[in-house]
């Protein structure tokens, strides 16, 4: 196995994607609306396509804004449809995002006749190719460092999400735990909801364009759910989810290089492998988590009468 500078960059880009996703992802998981990330990441497609058709270029700022707006609209439409009654939240989400996604596909196929916009590439992404697009070079000692554009974009998004989570930590926490209490405390829970949806949309679009959507869907939910198994503190959960996501990115790329030759294949997609690794890490946590893991529950059930872990409540 040989490790190139490009491999380091791929891991960095993957890790930045993971961190950018994990922060809003924790709140999605805690609000029990994990599928919203999935929905938004699909629904941004028509936004990308329309902005692309209007401006005629990929990777423009217009494209970014257009897609982010459609992403937030997904949340708005879902809310509207379910507030009519008769259609539950899951169903309205399904209606909105499949419709928007299909519309996006139609538009992309139309656009692809004229220009190079490959639906497959948009979906699965090509994190391996991101290092070719260098945005910034600088000299460090003897060596030139070539920073890929993807690293800049995802680094900015990760930073944006970090600032939001730090600045609105209390407000995000209370709105996720008890939106009604938040409202009585003068914190507009609706505003916080759409702030979170905006974060998810911006993250999804940025990642969509540079690394594809599979990795985003994996990184939004799985590291957050893994972290939730490991801790009872929200701050620590946020930190752990970022670390777990970054770890999955590193391990995923390593496995993508090492495993295929062992079983006689040429190579596999790094994005896919990173996503699979998040799942593997989740399984490990599910089995071995100190308090909520399967094994520790099995053990504690023997010596505690309560079906719940931890000491028996007493009055």
């Amino acid at each position: 196995m040989t490790w190139f500078v490009d491999d380091t960059w791929i891991v960095i880009i993957g890790a930045l994607t993971a961190i950018a996703c994990a922060l809003p992802g924790c709140f999605l998981v805690l609000r029990q609306m994990s599928m919203m990330g999935d929905a938004i990441s699909h629904a941004v497609l028509p936004g990308l396509a329309i902005a692309f058709l209007v401006t005629g270029e990929r990777a423009s700022f217009t494209m970014f804004i257009g897609a982010a707006v459609v992403g937030v609209l997904t949340a708005v439409f879902t809310q509207w449809i379910s507030s009519l009654g008769k259609v539950d939240r899951g169903a309205s989400m399904g209606i909105v995002f499949t419709t928007l996604f299909a519309l996006g596909l139609l538009l992309i196929v139309q656009a692809a006749d004229h220009v190079d916009l490959d639906p497959g590439c948009v979906l699965y992404g090509a994190i391996e190719m991101t290092t070719l697009d260098v945005a910034w070079e600088f000299q460090l000692g003897e060596t030139w460092i070539e920073v890929p554009r993807a690293a800049m974009v995802l680094g900015s998004v990760a930073l944006f999400n970090l600032i939001i989570v730090v600045a609105f930590f209390k407000e995000l926490k209370i709105s996720a735990f008890d939106p009604e209490l938040a409202t009585t405390q003068g914190i507009n829970a609706n505003f916080m909801h759409y702030l979170l949806m905006t974060q998810v949309a911006v993250t999804t679009v940025a990642a969509f364009e540079v690394v594809g959507s599979i990795i985003v869907i994996a990184m939004l939910v799985t590291p957050a759910a893994t972290a939730h198994l490991l801790t009872d503190r929200l701050g620590l959960m946020l930190l752990l989810s970022a670390i777990i996501g970054a770890l999955a990115a590193g391990l995923g790329h390593l496995l993508a290089i090492v495993i295929p030759p062992l079983i006689g294949f040429d190579g596999t997609t790094t994005s896919g492998m990173m996503a699979v690794t998040t799942g593997l890490l989740f399984v490990l946590a599910w089995l071995f988590a100190p308090r909520y893991g399967w094994i520790s529950r099995l053990v504690s059930r023997k010596d505690v009468k309560s079906p719940f872990s931890g000491p028996l409540p007493s009055d």
Partner: protein
């Protein structure tokens, strides 16, 4: 029980409503999908009372509280807290929601949850400080579970969880409290602790409205009662309002509940 004291400069002309009442509800109507849930509610709650809100399932008891707190849209009506719209008086109003309304697996400790009652005081972009944690801890102490402050909330019993919610409202140091079924599914010790707490609040001159299900304890716990079934059937001092006739009008033909009501009435000591 209307205290006519129009001595404030900020008095609003609102018929015969007393502008300084802790809670004054005027012609409130709430509808879900065009079906009315609360109809033409008119109420003045006098200061310092411990008020029970009683009525059958679906009578709109929780809806009444949520409408007062601006948590749900209202079709019409006016709610005033000490003569001002609720939005201006949020700091004076504490809320204890139903226990099932939140996810108890959320990664927060009991102390964290109580501290949430102080977020309005703490303000945007500021962090929770030591003094806030001290207020929260003493609120937990008042409900008798200060020793559980650092425990994750799913590891508390139902009664302890209810006490956490009460402590959160206490930490806020409001003058008007809304409590949505605080007695639902709690152990006897917690029930006693809540009753003591309610009496404390009353002794401090605070006004508390409590949605209550157990008719047998109404006359024992509350000095004022609102009998609700979409409309206000009757409201006033318990001994005047909590009568067989009013309960019959509130619960209608619901026989099992009527039996319960009969049992409740038999417990009232009549002169």
């Amino acid at each position: 029980m209307k205290t006519k004291s129009y001595n404030s400069a900020k008095t609003l002309p609102a018929d015969d409503h007393s502008p300084q009442a802790p809670l004054s509800i005027h012609d409130l109507t709430v509808a879900y999908h065009r079906k009315p849930v609360l109809w033409d509610i008119d109420l003045d709650i006098p200061e310092g009372k411990l008020v029970g809100i009683v009525g059958p399932n679906g009578a709109g008891k929780s809806t009444l509280i949520k409408a007062c707190l601006d948590l749900i849209p209202t079709a019409s009506g006016l709610v005033q807290v000490y003569g001002q719209p609720y939005k201006k008086q949020r700091a004076m109003v504490g809320y204890v929601p139903q226990r099932e309304s939140v996810d108890w697996d959320f990664p927060v400790s009991a102390l964290d949850v109580v501290t949430m009652g102080l977020y309005r005081d703490i303000g945007w972009f500021k962090t929770v400080r030591k003094k806030h944690k001290e207020i929260a801890r003493s609120a937990l102490d008042r409900v008798g579970i200060a020793h559980l402050a650092d425990r994750q909330i799913s590891q508390l019993s139902g009664g302890q969880q209810q006490r956490v919610f009460l402590a959160r409202a206490l930490a806020q140091d409001a003058t008007l409290y809304f409590m949505d079924e605080p007695f639902a599914a709690v152990d006897a010790a917690t029930e006693r602790a809540i009753v003591t707490l309610l009496k404390d609040l009353k002794n401090q001159g605070k006004t508390t409205l409590v949605v209550h299900h157990d008719l047998a304890t109404v006359s024992q716990y509350f000095d004022w009662v609102i009998l609700l079934n979409m409309r206000v059937v009757a409201a006033g001092p318990t001994e005047e309002v909590f009568t067989a006739e009013n309960l019959h009008r509130t619960y209608g033909g619901k026989l099992t509940l009527l039996a319960e009501a009969g049992h409740a009435l038999s417990q009232i000591k009549r002169p």
